[in-house]
Symmetry: C2
């Protein structure tokens, strides 16, 4: 069985907002993120998580009585953080629909590059959550996606974007462009999160542009 993702083995930044946790809980969550990202939820044991944190399995149970509860904490944290970043990007003053959409796509893309290990778990291990936890996370996902739909619709409504756009499907495509990079992004690759964010924002403006007028 492979060890957790070597590319992030030395990085302390697989967990945004880690200060909200005590030191032991934080070590356990960081280990769990790495184990899930490397081997999947079903391929990870509680012993793997505890061992990665330098603790005994018993210590894990004090903080997370089940492996699923550790996943739930991680997935909830990741989704909430992504949502907060979008709310901040939207509020950050860009005035027109084009600027606002570009800012959202830029921020969402950078999030997925910067936190790619965490984001991989959030996207690929979602189905392992218990139904009530899954439902809760789905609500956050819906609110997140709605931010993109509202931003696309605003530009359609005021005539900045192509009036013939299928708002829901175009928003879904923009979200795909930002999220798919967790499948292939590596921090030692040629592009920084900032470069990826700026480029994807440019693509977003191409996708929504009025025919014949940019």
């Amino acid at each position: 069985m492979p060890t957790p993702d070597d590319t992030t083995a030395g990085a302390p930044d697989v967990l945004p907002g880690a200060d909200a946790y005590g030191p032991v809980q934080r070590r356990l969550l960081v280990s769990a993120v790495r184990c899930f990202a490397a081997n999947g939820f079903h391929g990870t044991t509680t012993r793997d998580i505890a061992g990665g944190a330098g603790l005994s399995p018993a210590a894990l149970y004090v903080h997370f009585p089940s492996k699923e509860l550790a996943l739930y904490e991680i997935v909830r944290l990741g989704h909430r953080h992504a949502y907060d970043i979008l709310v901040a990007a939207r509020a950050d003053g860009p005035s027109g629909p084009g600027e606002r959409l570009a800012a959202l796509v830029d921020a969402y893309t950078r999030f997925h590059a910067q936190w790619h290990v965490l984001a991989r778990v959030c996207q690929y291990d979602l189905g392992a959550l218990r139904p009530e936890h899954y439902e809760e996370v789905l609500r956050t996902r819906h609110e997140t996606n709605e931010i993109f739909r509202v931003a696309v619709a605003a530009g359609v409504d005021d005539g900045t974007f192509d009036p013939g756009l299928d708002v829901r499907r175009v928003a879904r495509a923009l979200i795909s462009l930002a999220i798919d990079l967790v499948r292939w992004y590596r921090p030692d690759g040629p592009e920084t999160p900032e470069q990826l964010g700026a480029f994807t924002a440019q693509l977003a403006l191409r996708l929504v542009a009025r025919p014949g007028g940019r």
Copy 2:
């Protein structure tokens, strides 16, 4: 542990080109695709695969002496099939760079929707291959991606597409749009593979269009 993806439990079509295998081998591979897609490579045991095919673990070993060899066969088959579909779409007579790129994106998107269970394994479990198998699959991936790069470059070179396009990154974005649907596509959703293919092809033409001229 969840059972393999219920949405495909009754579907015989998780394995394209299944006729190339004998009946037992085919049952084993179909079971392996479903197990890997549902629980990941590391979360699947050889017993799961054999049991899903109604066979004993010993029967599995006759055909696939290791779990990795079953994954290798599946991932190789999936990548080869996707490549063949693109080669066929390219040869299928569309005359201009726009039509040709649209045909490629359409075909690649339909492939990922139609064979979404297999494609999920091909995308998400790739890292579990042995290095020499991984290298071989990477070569097919490179050839596949190259088809898109060549198609984008052809339209840039002859002036059909925006001359300022970053060919490599735009091709990557088109590939992302086609592949990302394995993350969220469900066969009982509102869109057919054909509808998804046609829509994504439209998006592709928007991404490459010359400013101010469509």
